[in-house]
């Protein structure tokens, strides 16, 4: 790692930040969340805390801009330079700028968060089927109002879950119209416009009037990026037109022909040769979280590292399960020291109302909405259970299969196969629990819920909790580092699995029965002896390893091996 000359650093640990503007590519809540998570990368390993300001001057001012954006270092269009940030100090020092000619995502393509509809703002599920046809983008099919929509589950016909996709016909952002939708046509400087335009602006952002006459009403907003819009080019974000003609040849998909840089592009009219209208095709985009975490490293005083795997290496590469490299940790701790004492409160955006995805079982539909400003921990709606390769634990609670992963959980009703719900926040429903749950089970008679994490366990009865207590108190040996599965066997007896062994717990006595541990493979033949989840569901016992499960019937025969993703989550 390297630090800037003179070891530039903040002289206080309570660093403030402010988000000046937003990108049209991502819903503002996703941007807020990406930045909050990027700061948490650094606050997890240092005594630093990050507080968001909504006005005034913050230590770290964050903005999106294109090309010449008000500092001496212009951006360069799509790809190439993604962002830059200044080392700590007064004025522009400490600020972070992101190139809005990039396509900002969470690293794996467009993240389309819906509005309205009946899916509570869930993300689009691509592909989805509607009337026998598969869709990989939002569509206006089936509607007469031209509003793009998507299904939020794989099959609209089965689940009937949908929402509307970002479009200028639904809302705008920024500007002075409080998010009102565009009105087309609108008049600007005597000219009539039928679509969003960059005319009249030097920053390249697409805008529209939200009344029929901008010259008279002066009401405007910026247009959100549709998932089908082109990026850059000269078409103001119009969608590709297929087929199109380029140099006399017809193209049915995006092409890199004609370009020396290999980037995929398309025409936005039927003939490029005649109209010269074009744009780049949407791609995987760049993870705003990863780029922000890197830039905030600069804003805290770290220069570029020459270790390829380090976050502070200058090149972008997407990693699915990000964790901070030892080199980055050493660098930031050289400047600010280690984190000491109990966990400080992690950076959390403040917002009015409750989390975007309250657990419906925990809320009363007759409750009045809470309009007081509360600080709540947001659930990242972009976390997709279908993309989780290995859950921390899977268990049945109140008849529903629960999938736990890194502070979140999803649930699936076993009664109606009613689809997956979530993500929900573990801390909101069971505040005493840590983010990672190794194992859990519910006593069907007492309704007590047992949660295991590492060498500790908690018992929830309704909203009251006992614990954490050490698993040694149950009689498990100190060599057991975690309980990986739990199976109820008869009245008050529970089998606890760890490694290649299992123990039988007498729940009433809160003690392990004599004669244990036993080898798992001796009693449960044919299942992996390193399963990390063991649970019972619909009369079968499931042993999971990574993305697979081994299902055992009541005669202890393995009768099926399958994918968690497809068979249990119904992805």
């Amino acid at each position: 790692y390297q630090t800037f000359a003179g070891d530039l650093k903040w002289d206080h640990n309570d660093v403030t930040y402010r988000i000046i503007n937003y990108t049209p590519d991502l819903e503002s809540s996703l941007v807020d969340d990406a930045f909050a998570r990027a700061f948490k990368v650094w606050s997890d390993v240092t005594p630093l805390t990050f507080t968001r300001l909504f006005d005034g001057t913050a230590d770290i001012m964050i903005s999106f801009g294109k090309a010449d954006h008000g500092d001496p270092y212009p951006f360069d269009g799509k790809d190439g330079l993604l962002a830059h940030a200044y080392p700590p100090g007064e004025g522009m020092q400490g600020d972070a700028h992101f190139d809005d000619d990039e396509f900002w995502t969470l690293g794996k393509g467009a993240v389309v968060k819906t509005r309205y509809g009946n899916a509570d703002g869930a993300l689009c599920h691509f592909p989805f089927t509607f009337e026998g046809k598969s869709y990989t983008t939002c569509t206006t099919d089936g509607r007469s109002d031209n509003l793009p929509w998507c299904a939020t589950t794989a099959d609209y016909g089965r689940d009937k879950k949908f929402g509307f996709c970002p479009s200028e016909l639904l809302f705008t952002f920024g500007g002075n119209a409080d998010g009102a939708e565009c009105v087309f046509p609108f008049v600007f400087q005597g000219e009539e416009y039928d679509s969003c335009t960059t005319e009249g602006r030097s920053d390249g952002y697409r805008w529209c009037a939200t009344t029929s006459n901008f010259d008279k009403d002066k009401k405007y907003g910026f247009c959100p990026t549709r998932d089908t819009t082109t990026i850059g080019g000269n078409s103001d974000g119009a969608p590709c037109h297929f087929p199109f003609v380029f140099l006399g040849k017809e193209y049915d998909s995006c092409t890199s022909e004609g370009r020396g840089d290999g980037k995929l592009w398309c025409a936005t009219t039927d003939n490029y040769d005649d109209d010269k209208k074009w744009g780049f095709c949407p791609d995987q985009g760049y993870s705003l979280f990863l780029v922000a975490a890197h830039e905030f490293g600069h804003a805290l005083g770290l220069d570029h590292s020459n270790i390829r795997e380090a976050l502070m290496y200058p090149m972008y590469s997407y990693v699915e399960d990000f964790s901070l490299h030892e080199d980055d940790i050493e660098g930031i701790q050289y400047l600010y020291g280690r984190k000491t004492g109990p966990d400080p409160t992690p950076p959390q955006p403040d917002f009015t109302t409750t989390t975007p995805y309250p657990d419906p079982d925990e809320t009363d539909p007759t409750d009045e909405p809470d309009t007081t400003t509360t600080t709540t921990r947001p659930v990242d709606p972009s976390i997709d259970a279908c993309k989780v390769t290995k859950f921390d634990t899977i268990t049945v609670i109140e008849g529903e299969l629960h999938f736990f992963k890194d502070g979140h959980y999803w649930k699936m009703s076993s009664r109606s196969n009613g689809g997956l719900k979530g993500p929900f926040s573990i801390s909101q429903r069971w505040p005493a629990l840590p983010a990672v749950i190794d194992s859990a089970f519910e006593n069907m008679l007492t309704r007590k819920l047992y949660f295991f994490s590492g060498t500790r366990f908690w018992v929830y009865t309704g909203k009251s909790v006992l614990g954490p207590r050490s698993i040694e108190k149950l009689g498990l040996p100190s060599t057991v580092q975690k309980v990986e599965g739990a199976l109820q066997r008869g009245k008050g007896k529970v089998l606890l699995f760890s490694g290649e062994n299992y123990w039988r717990l007498d729940e009433k006595a809160q003690k392990i029965d004599k004669g244990y541990p036993r080898y798992t493979d001796v009693v449960f033949g044919g299942v992996p002896n390193d399963a990390h989840d063991v649970f019972q569901y619909k009369g079968h016992i499931y042993f999971c390893r990574d993305r697979f499960y081994w299902r055992m019937n009541s005669r202890r025969q393995v009768d099926r091996v399958g994918y968690v993703k497809y068979d249990l989550l119904k992805c």
């Binding site: 090309a67 799509k78 000619d101 080019g233 390829r308």
Partner: protein, 89 residues
């Protein structure tokens, strides 16, 4: 059908990115990210040769230090990255 298409590069209107030669790209990259300058103890700044600058860049990026604009160096130069210079000014 086996005759390859003859690629023609065109200039796209409104495109910030221009078709530039590899050498131009390299010079721009080395200059922009601080590899061409050398700061002397006196505080005086001077330019270093392209070969030396390339070696500095290759060392920083964990590439073989050839001092030549080889394929792997060029590939790294074309990758998306942070705009903060690698060699502090």
């Amino acid at each position: 059908w086996s005759i390859p298409l003859k690629t023609r590069f065109v200039t796209f209107p409104g495109d910030i990115l221009k078709n530039i030669s590899d050498n131009e790209l390299s010079e721009n990259y080395l200059t922009k990210f601080g590899y061409m300058q050398k700061l002397h103890r006196s505080g005086f700044q001077s330019m270093v040769s392209t070969e030396k600058a390339l070696k500095r860049m290759q060392r920083q990026m964990g590439l073989e230090e050839t001092g030549k604009l080889d394929k792997s160096t060029l590939e790294v130069m074309k990758r998306p990255r942070c705009g903060v210079p690698d060699v502090a000014n």
